[in-house]
């Protein structure tokens, strides 16, 4: 009895601590949200104020109307197009490659795996120029292709992640499947994939967020305003040497977070519940 109440008290204290810390973690979001309702001239002067004295909804109106005659609706559409296709490409190619590296002992696999790790280690900054030359040769400048097509080769980060997860799946499964006359592709699609749903969803969520947030690639490859993605459009609203409508900028920053947060909240349960729906326990 005594131990039980001790345990309860412990859980209670833990909950308080975890929740208290959580509040600290979301402070920035609250701050951003509140700033998005402040008048532009107040953003810096009244930076410490968490609850604005006046709510300037105009920030959202002014921001949403975008620029060069294109509203944020178009930018959201562009971002969604690029992001969704990139996620699909990354998930397909990465799980395939990861399966080969984790489960198939084919000649050259160590070599290619090492190559893949090496591509992760080179700072991308020195690849900008040759990559641009390449896409320029392909005549892909000012199209979405440079942002989408490379995703269909998967990503080294995600391949490595999925490899690590697949290697946590008992090998006996493969053997029993082989005895059952289950082919490689069949095993991959029907048995392996369902088992690593948490990792696949993690991959998809990360890729979604990273592509959505990326502004440097869109900045380089997209020239015209009607092609701008949300992150690029927001970046184009702030310049430290020019007049900036900070209220509108923050309002659009809040809006741009909506899809990412929605994706995260919508998919996180698959990260958590994935395994329980499979029959691994047996």
């Amino acid at each position: 009895m005594n131990t039980l109440s001790n345990k309860k008290v412990g859980t209670f204290i833990l909950s308080i601590a975890v929740w208290g810390f959580a509040i600290v973690m979301i402070y920035p979001l609250l701050w951003l949200f509140s700033s998005s309702f402040k008048h532009t001239t107040d953003v810096y002067v009244l930076a410490h104020q968490l609850i604005p004295t006046h709510f300037y909804w105009e920030n959202y109106v002014n921001g949403f109307k975008g620029f060069a005659g294109h509203s944020f609706l178009l930018f959201f559409r562009n971002s969604l197009y690029v992001t969704v296709l990139s996620v699909i490409g990354t998930v397909i190619a990465s799980t395939m490659a990861a399966y080969a590296f984790a489960r198939i002992r084919f000649p050259g696999s160590s070599f290619w795996f090492a190559c893949m790790m090496l591509t992760l280690m080179l700072p991308g900054e020195v690849l900008i120029i040759p990559q641009y030359m390449l896409f320029n040769k392909l005549d892909w400048i000012n199209t979405f292709w440079p942002l989408i097509v490379p995703s269909f080769a998967g990503g080294a980060f995600f391949i490595f992640l999925l490899v690590q997860f697949m290697r946590g799946i008992p090998i006996e499964l493969d053997e029993s499947a082989r005895i059952d006359g289950c082919g490689r592709f069949h095993f991959f699609a029907k048995i392996m994939l369902p088992l690593i749903v948490p990792a696949i969803v993690t991959t998809a969520v990360f890729k979604f967020i990273w592509t959505w947030d990326d502004y440097f690639a869109p900045l380089l490859y997209l020239n015209s305003a009607e092609k701008a993605t949300v992150s690029l459009a927001i970046k184009s609203m702030a310049d430290p040497t020019m007049e900036t409508d900070w209220g509108a900028l923050f309002a659009m920053s809040v809006l741009s977070l909506v899809p990412v947060i929605a994706v995260f909240i919508g998919f996180q349960k698959y990260i958590v519940d994935g395994i329980s729906t499979t029959g691994l326990k047996g």
Binding site: A47, A93, T119, L120, P130, V163, Q164, R167, P198
Partner: protein
Amino acid sequence: MRWLRNPDLYAGYAFILPWLIGLFVFSLFPIFFSLYLSFTDYDILSSPEWIGLGNYKEMFTDDPRFVKSAKVTLLYVFVSVPLRLSFALGIAVLLNMKLKGSSILRSFYYLPTLMGGSVAVIVMWGQLFGMNGAFNSLLKSLFGIQVSISWITDPSTALGSLIALSVWQFGSAMLIFLAGLKQIPASLIEAAKVDGAPAWQRFIRITLPLLSPVIFFNLVMGIIGGFKVFSEGMILTGGGPHDQTLFYVIYLYETSFRFLHMGYGSAMAWVLLLAVCLLTALVFRSSSLWVHYESKGNG
């Protein structure tokens, strides 16, 4: 020619084919081009000029800023990576414990990572830890200490603040740990419970070994990412004050795109690659001692 009849050969290459094509089409040329540039003097605007090992020689003999940037980065990696991973693991384990509202908590803990390095976060971070920021007011009201330090821009605290920021954005690592924890078969932990093993023993004996592939992943990626750290420093401090937060890649970028020594920047990139490669190889080597796999594979 027996290996040609190995069915695994075809299956293996069929599965990695999309990645392999991508490597050849999109990555190989840029990678080798940058290797070539590292032996040249290249100002981006005119053609590269071959100078052999000149860039590498200058780096190690005649460039105090290079040395400074290497030191700053090493310090950053060795402090921030262990801190962030322990944080991420600790919180992941807590969130895995079915506390009330754990799904909301997960979202709260992940939000800072979602917000990434947006303009808003930078402005906010500045006003939180600025000289008249919320943090200093908190210190004053809680402990009565009058602090007038601007945490991000003061030479003695700037690097520490960037480390704090990176620890605060532990969400990605946490999420990967969570996914890993969820993959541990509940039956194993139940069995240990029946055996009467206390919670901490179950954690050390079962959870940690089974989680080790994921810990390994987070460690390797943490090291690689740590050495390549760029945007956090670039947007918050720009490497300043007087190079106190001059991360390796910030200097590389500055050299390549501001000073127009792209050849030198490329050489720096390849030196970084070698260093990170060696370190990662060490971690991979050590993995046989502490990483527990259900199946044998590469690595």
